[in-house]
Symmetry: D2
Subunit: 408 residues, 4 copies
């Protein structure tokens, strides 16, 4: 086959075109592990609130790779050495950084394969691919694990201003229509620089960074931590939890999902990953559609609630330990649904959620001044509000069925 036939340009509603750099990328993208990401929604069930938000991990991964291309080009034009091999490796690393995500992305993290997060799984998938591609992903894996000597390359994959974040904020804002969260990724990238092997932002980008932090915070409250989205996603988690609890061999569900609910996972990572690679959003939804008719009341009510979008009510709970209120709600649910008190925990529960727009204790966004000095943005003159944003905000919420609410 002629190699030029493999060179492809993809349409992207956000960036216009995304170019696939070379044949290796083309083959990675065509790989079933990666094609699976077409069936993993980027934002879980967020589309129940924002009806445009159906974009997938597949699209995000390509977008992040596109931004990485821009970032590398900018940094090289500013005189920083990045070899051809490093350029390819850092692009592969970002392309594959989410390949370990399971159905509904974060929503079901730890629900399908308990105890292993998606980053660990991404790493294991990369290692498997590295074998298949005869070592060509070696440096990408090192960058991903921050074992490569040039640390700034890892920061482009994972830091306050990494390409992952710059793509997903822009993409999520675009598809949800929450324009307040819009981030001008290309502009921010054009102001990246390197000092002492660390990514910094040229000083003139101070207001762009500020806007980025504010936009990020808004996306958290308006999208990622939106009460109704959370309500739907907790329902999803409870459904999986209950399905596991009442699991029997004759339960209707997709075959791949059955293995995970049964829990007899293979020992070798390779076998586990290949099994895991069978799973996507369709399996979960197909299971739920069958279980709405299951004989277990808890399971069938939970499934029907999700399918018909009869989500749990969410209210701010100033006092998360107000047991009186919770107990009253549980009693209502018990009576109404005819289930045990223990089982009401599937329907009535408390959750605390924290939003931290800029967390300088984790890692910082540093500004590079014309005189060569480097300053944390939260300490830069006139950025009082950034330091305010650096304080985390926690809110408590109480979830319960709308038709079992409190008499007010």
């Amino acid at each position: 086959m002629n190699s030029t036939n493999k060179l492809k340009i993809l349409n992207d509603p956000i960036y216009g075109f995304i170019t696939i750099p070379n044949e290796l990328f083309f083959d990675l993208i065509e790989h079933p592990y990666f094609q699976r990401l077409r069936r993993i929604s980027q934002l879980g069930l967020t589309y129940l609130v924002y009806p445009g938000a159906y974009h997938t991990r597949f699209h995000h991964a390509l977008g992040a790779m596109h931004l990485m291309d821009k970032a590398v080009r900018i940094l090289k034009s500013k005189g920083h050495a990045i070899s051809m091999e490093e350029e390819e490796a850092v692009k592969i690393a970002i392309l594959l950084h989410d390949i370990g995500h399971g159905p509904f992305s974060h929503a079901l993290e730890n629900s399908i394969v308990p105890g292993i997060d998606h980053e660990k799984l991404s790493l294991e998938f990369m290692k498997l691919l590295n074998k298949e591609f005869e070592g060509k992903l070696e440096m990408a894996i090192n960058i991903f694990q921050n074992k490569h000597p040039k640390k700034f390359l890892h920061q482009l994959i994972s830091s306050q201003l990494d390409m992952d974040r710059l793509d997903y904020l822009r993409r999520d804002s675009f598809y949800t229509g929450v324009t307040e969260g819009q981030v001008n990724s290309e502009r921010l990238i054009s102001m990246l620089n390197i000092v002492d092997d660390q990514i910094v932002v040229d000083h003139k980008g101070i207001y762009s960074v500020e806007k980025f932090i504010v936009a990020r915070r808004l996306m958290y409250w308006q999208v990622y931590l939106h009460k109704t989205v959370l309500s739907a996603e907790f329902l999803l988690i409870k459904i999986l939890q209950r399905a596991r609890e009442v699991f029997t061999e004759d339960m209707l569900m997709p075959s791949a999902l059955k293995v995970f609910l049964r829990g007899d996972l293979p020992e070798s990572y390779e076998d586990l990953l290949n099994l895991y690679a069978q799973l996507d959003d369709h399996d979960i939804f197909s299971g739920i559609k069958e279980w709405q008719f299951h004989s277990d009341k808890v399971l069938s009510i939970l499934c029907e609630s999700l399918l018909k979008r009869k989500l749990l009510a969410v209210v701010s709970a100033d006092d998360p330990n107000n047991d009186g209120k919770i107990n009253e709600l549980k009693k209502n649910v018990q009576e109404k649904y005819g289930i045990s008190l223990k089982e009401t925990e599937y329907f009535v529960f408390n959750k605390g959620l924290t939003n931290n727009a800029y967390n300088p204790t984790k890692d910082r966004i540093n500004l590079l001044y014309k005189d060569g000095s480097v300053v944390d943005i939260a300490r830069a003159a006139d950025q009082l509000n950034i330091s305010a944003l650096a304080k985390p905000v926690t809110k408590n919420f109480l979830f319960f069925p709308k038709d079992c609410g409190l008499r007010s």
Copy 2:
């Protein structure tokens, strides 16, 4: 429950906000029949080519309702009488015009319920809802069927410049990123008018209409009739066809889908519709995922091809009856896959596709001049190219497995 709690505003990446007019609309949208549209992709498998095109019938229906609101407001402001009842009815009609769509929209039309198109199903769903909502959809149904005295209301639902088309062209262009197909829907709507109970366009809109027709044609060639999209969708059709052919009771698939493949459909429309309302894209995909491991070679190869995106090759076939070429291809497939000659028809076939950007024999776009005269756009001065566009263009394509291609 307080009625104001039901009034909702939805975010839309295209129009900004979509307002749900009143409680009746809210209840229709919350109805499981309508919520199902969240799980029906607008453009079938187009996302295999345009990775952003995951939008759903749910979103399109809301968008078309939003445009209808604008159209009604414009027409009223130009002095045309539209009663409050008619306004509500025409908005309901457009909201529900696609409620009969099945999995993957047009791609599987006639594959799930042979012989009944989605418009007929939409009408039946509306009648069912009319019963449930105690006759409140009566006028909407009349408008939908063009039985209402004011014919222009039906034209807003179904004609060359209806709200369906104005929304889907804009939305499909937006989500695919095919900017050439972008249509300025609001601008076109602002130039609508009525003469003799017919929708016309104010003369100054002549260039906007021209651009609309050109954009529509481009969307056909670049999206709706895109060779790779068609290749994927024919695969889908073939899969369903084969699954029906080799159907056995112990085949793994979602329960709802099984009824349709078995073919013992209920006699009453009501029962049929309620069964049909269980189906969505997830069922089809879950089936396909199971069948990639099915013992029937034809079925398993077709399913694996789709899941791993190893689609059939498509080439222009100047001579659709070149049997020699086809026979050679079939022989290749027979050998390679070890199947019967008859079975190769699943993999090697011819298709003719027609694109007709503006079909004045069906219905026209008429311009209203300042002197009151009304002229078909294709006859308006300086619109030579529109009359050119009015001629249908047909292209023939030959489909076959890439790995069984011709020696060249």
Copy 3:
């Protein structure tokens, strides 16, 4: 003449279309006083930094009227009484709110007619127009002066979230290309409400308001107080000042400008305004183009600097009273240009500039909660950063000719 001929729709790159409400508005817009605004740039000499920023007061006034139409419609839809007469009046008031602006808008305020600001002049123009239009602007004038009983109407003209601000931030961001300053005006307007005759924002708009305040601050630092823009505008002021100082009757310049530089202004406001209405950006530039060849060295150097874009250097001056530095610079200029020490003040000077993104001591932005309570946004939970933004920031700058800089 047929009245319908006067109804017009204008294209606007930002809002799409702007509709002129009725014939009275049409006649006001066609009036030479208002047409003059086509020749008054909105942002003075900002285009020397942002080459797209050539938009005019004319366009801004129409845009603000357009937003006022939206605001009125929203507030009425929320049940607040606004009579037809009030609606017309508040739209007229916003249409004419800037009609008193002189050449280069704020840049030359107080330089052409010392001691009278543009708001006072706008009011006087409105009164003159009111006479000409036989009292039809009476209520508009009352609203403009906050003498109308419904105070919220004045707030739509002049307050933290008035239509003036909502248009100019959006428009200036659009034309400069400073996307960080983009404000979603329509979205903010959709969340306006009224409590106790005061404009408030529905609680769900909290993040939109936050983004508005941040965007406004960014626009100040990046555009309105941009060092190079200021450098150009101070040059403009100095030119007018010097031209007045060296004024002689045979100086070349437009006739209208001559009257103002000579200083023998008419006593009656009506005569003054009619004279003032002759002035626009062209006069100033024509004067400058002539004076680049004037025999007075100070004047000719200043004019040439502006025309050839050889602007003064600007540096942060931590210590505004560092006389040593200033004296050294002045000495350099004196030598280099061969002018008197006194005259060097045209070229070397200090300026302090203050940015106050949200000034709650002037007037507040209040949020309306679901329980009916009203809270200043700076005190709302989780808005620590807004209270940070409420503190004014002052910076000092030193201006001097680039070719007379300090030895470093």
Copy 4:
């Protein structure tokens, strides 16, 4: 001075950022000849119809340079040889291609310096700059004149798909708000290619090119040949013509303009250009503002009409030689204004205007197919409407004062 201080990035509302490639470009842009373009509006008086259309030749020249950078990068990535020197030269040529434009761009072409078009003047300015920059513009001048061996470089400057056109269509569409004329310049550029030293378009760009041609045609009818714009621009031409006719030394006007109206132009091109470089839009407007009070009735009426936007009426004139109608109009004007019959020709006249969206007799847009063949787009299959667009359309218009119209 440090060279890095000269490297600049400019904001552009359309492309985001425009980078100035190197110091030579910086110095060319800073040159007074080029800075003058800041005071030359791109679209003459179009802003009288589209109030956002105040953009300048300065901005357009930078935009075209930006697109040239993209084009060069694309062509090089497709394996075509373009040396560093050629790359610089072709960018300089496009940057300076309009430097010879005079006040109001095309509107006054031939009115200021009769008999010499702006391209000739641009060439002369380039030659002058070449002397000043010690021969560094040599190759740019050769490319501009199509004397450079690689002919495709000239085509990037001047052909059906040159960077001039790709920028101005996009920019004019953006600033007028005529969204139907929007052209996706970057997308078109990404599909450029070279065959036999000619610019061609990759076959997959067929629909983008079609959209480009349609958009171009729309821009002609809706903007460039808009009746009201033409009415204003003919007024401008008539004003200059009359001012020349009644010229006396004591007429008030800017000094530079006076030389041109007097007509004693210098013999050497260098002197002429330096004089010409003094002129910009301000001079014309300042003249007009003075002349509205001139004693010559024809001149003063024309000037007042323009300043107060009392433009001539324009109607389609099917029969351009209907002398009866014209004579009646002239008689009306003669009576109403009290001028001679000869002088009425300033107010009543006929004009024929031709729009030719795609003129294959001049030069073609060729498509490159995968098999290497090259085909004129008008002959490509399915492009019937392009061949229709290739036929020129001429319309005749009659201009006359609104208040001297025909009794109907």
